[in-house]
Symmetry: C2
Subunit: 470 residues, 2 copies
């Protein structure tokens, strides 16, 4: 109670300073650390103060810089609350809705706010094509022969070298390639679980993860998840004795876009290791950070080989290449065996081209440009939504990745919004897709990985009008 009072009182004081003009638009607030020291409060209380002010759109976080007083003439939409899925397991996979949304994606002329990968326009397609042509000339034959079981050596070596950027020091032997990221997750789930086991995931969560888990006969436990910091570790602690494995997108998850702080990652890895619960870490968005540096991964804190770190180039380079990988820690032999019995090996030539592309500066140059585009898009989307969507709309503020999570007023059913929008050639991903429970019916995910054009801007405004009319 006293703690509640503390953070509430502090945030009220700061709010008053902003309203009375003591603090002005653009002013920088003291750091969380300074606030702790000056006010003699805990780090959690200090963070809570700023989260509260952020929710009221009075202040804004800027990556790697701190908190600033918002421009209150510009409408700033509040960030959604922490999700509160039921701790009771539920089994309603929204397969029909998912099939409809994915099924329509192939239709010509549809604006795909619903898609989960960047548009080809944002990817280095012609550079990749040139590299493939060169690889074919240089490697007569090797592109048509079976790859070695563990995968292209050059690719594994490059990935191992790059692991330094996110806090690990993997070796080429630690990595096994797969047919895209989903295939890595599938092998990992098969390796560490059996039918009837319980898997803990964030909520809302990527529908493919729900379908895969259900397809393998797992029970799914959705965890309360904060749109900025990811799953609530305390909530996980309460159910840890009930779960057999955990799958988390620790960096810029879809649809929330949350980034788990380093301290959470470390605590999470220690907690799971203590209970011998393997963690499948899906890091497919990790390279798409808007901040100054690549976020770390849970794998960086993994001392016991219990973290199976998965990633791919589907969100950064070439979705159609189907090049993914996993560093499975102590589950190496199990994954190699699954890879062998379910597919023998992935396509050879796309692994080779990916390896060549990652080996030199081209990849980092491309990532730099892609991240810049995505960050601009996040702001353009956010501003357009703030300008045209109905009162009560909330929106996530991702620090990386491809997704925006939009929470509409409770009365709006996004499955119905989907139907109306599709008639006007606009496709969205309704919130119900991202859970097994009856929730998020007033939410949707929008992809920011589309080239920003006048037409796209008009379509987004149009979507706001359709929403408001509901």
């Amino acid at each position: 109670m006293k703690k509640e009072f503390l953070y509430a009182g502090l945030s009220r004081s700061i709010a008053r300073q902003i309203r009375t003009g003591v603090l002005k638009t653009g002013d920088r607030l003291p750091s969380v650390r300074t606030l702790c020291r000056e006010q003699g409060v805990s780090i959690n209380t200090a963070k809570r103060v700023y989260l509260e002010l952020e929710k009221q759109s009075l202040i804004e976080a800027k990556p790697q810089s701190g908190y600033f007083v918002s421009d209150r003439k510009r409408r700033i939409l509040p960030v959604p609350e922490t999700s509160r899925p039921s701790p009771i397991k539920s089994v309603e996979t929204p397969n029909r809705l998912i099939s409809k949304v994915y099924g329509n994606m192939g239709k010509k002329g549809l604006t795909l706010f619903s898609i989960g990968a960047p548009s080809a326009e944002l990817l280095p397609v012609s550079k990749l094509n040139r590299e493939m042509t060169k690889a074919l000339q240089q490697l007569s034959g090797s592109g048509t022969a079976y790859e070695e079981l563990q995968g292209n050596l050059k690719l594994r070596r490059t990935l191992a070298r790059r692991s330094f950027f996110w806090g690990a020091d993997l070796a080429e032997e630690d990595i096994i390639t797969t047919t895209g990221g989903m295939n890595a997750l599938s092998f990992c789930m098969m390796a560490v679980s059996k039918q009837g086991n319980t898997i803990a995931v964030e909520s809302p969560v990527y529908p493919g993860i729900l379908q895969l888990a259900r397809g393998l006969g797992l029970r799914v436990l959705e965890l309360p998840t904060h749109p900025v910091t990811g799953i609530e570790i305390d909530a996980l602690k309460k159910v840890i004795h009930k779960i057999h494995l955990c799958l988390l997108v620790t960096n810029f998850s879809t649809p929330l876009g949350c980034l788990m702080p380093d301290a959470h990652k470390k605590e999470l890895v220690q907690l799971l290791a203590a209970y011998e619960v393997p963690l499948i870490e899906d890091d497919i968005y990790g390279d798409l950070y808007f901040g100054k540096s690549r976020p770390k991964c849970c794998k960086a804190y993994d001392k016991d080989g219990m973290v199976l770190w998965c990633s791919s180039v589907s969100k950064t380079l070439a979705p159609g290449y189907r090049v993914g990988w996993v560093a499975p820690g102590r589950y190496r032999n199990a994954i190699l065996n699954l890879k062998y019995i379910h597919s023998i090996s992935p396509t050879a030539i796309t692994q080779e081209v990916t390896a060549r592309f990652l080996e030199n500066d081209r990849y980092d140059l491309h990532l730099h440009q892609l991240r810049h585009q995505l960050q601009l898009n996040r702001d353009r989307f956010t501003d357009t939504i703030a300008a045209g969507f109905p009162p009560g709309t909330k929106i996530s503020r991702p620090q990386g990745g491809l997704a925006l999570w939009v929470v509409l007023p409770e009365r709006i059913d996004t499955a119905e919004l989907y139907e109306r929008a599709v008639r006007q050639k606009i496709s969205i991903a309704p919130g119900r897709m991202f859970t097994l429970q009856n929730q998020y019916n007033n939410c949707m995910r929008l992809c920011i990985g589309l080239p920003w054009t006048d037409d796209l801007s008009r379509k987004l405004t149009q979507l706001g009008k359709i929403t408001a009319a509901l």
Copy 2:
């Protein structure tokens, strides 16, 4: 009893005619049909007569031509007997042996009689590379984007058209592409079975099938299998009430190379349909026939959608492309769902290039040359083995495919032979790999998909010497 007497008596008479010179080397014997009519016996009896003579190396079958009196100065090795696996289920997957054999394959300088795909030298590598380069130029972007869920339309259309050659008339909607043939089998097994179910397979059988089935928690029932005609339908009838699914390589299976006659295929499909047992038909070798025409598939007789027909280009065009497919009949939705949740989609560019290659005459021209090489190799291998392997050796006489099955005298353990051969830079596939039971220890599989050179010929002779010394 009477029937036994009939075939034995008839074959004795013909054997006498050959030994006394009434029938001379190269003479053609009456057709099975004529023999029936002339002798007033059943078709089965007539066939049995010739099989008996073939076993004694007195006569030889020539594809599409009939039976001829053998050249008895040339040593003709007998064909192995029908296999007799135990009807009791067994669980000893020979994983260590398999890992050793596959693990060594990457070693430089090893002659790979153990491999399961044709050498790059026999494949149209540079034509495929040129086609890929062209495809990249023409399709900017589409090779890097996600493929539509069901797979490349052009490829599915071409495969549907080609189904005419093997007795079916599939439509493009009937086919779903996969990441190679093994991935098709994996999805099929997952779609039609659950843990604890029993799967019937031929014996000896491809080890990947055993490992996959065991990996999915299935019980495996190995069926008695004739090296010329495949599984014994009567043996299947006896256990049909115990099995939940059946997986057969109906055309030129590895390792036996047997070709199931059309009448067996038809009877099999009707039998399985009556008991509602799905059949996964693995047709990866079907295009590699040495006879005059493409053999039919069980799928051609499938009226109830119970046959899941699988194939790939791994044995004919490009193992490293990982392009496979399945026509899953009534299991279409289940397979689409599995494909989506486990991998999203296969690599796009290799599907496109395969489609382009299959669309015109190039594929058939290539197949024509490849089949010619393989048939020549079968004869060269057979003659070399006949000339140098120890007395008591038996050998399969495949009418297509890539494998020769060699049965050595009982005292020879091919796991030991493997060790000795590898020290002399020769790799074989020991028979124990192809079963879950303790059998085939004196057998081995040799791949005939290697370019025939003086060196290869020497290595095969050397293998005979190592064998004889054991």
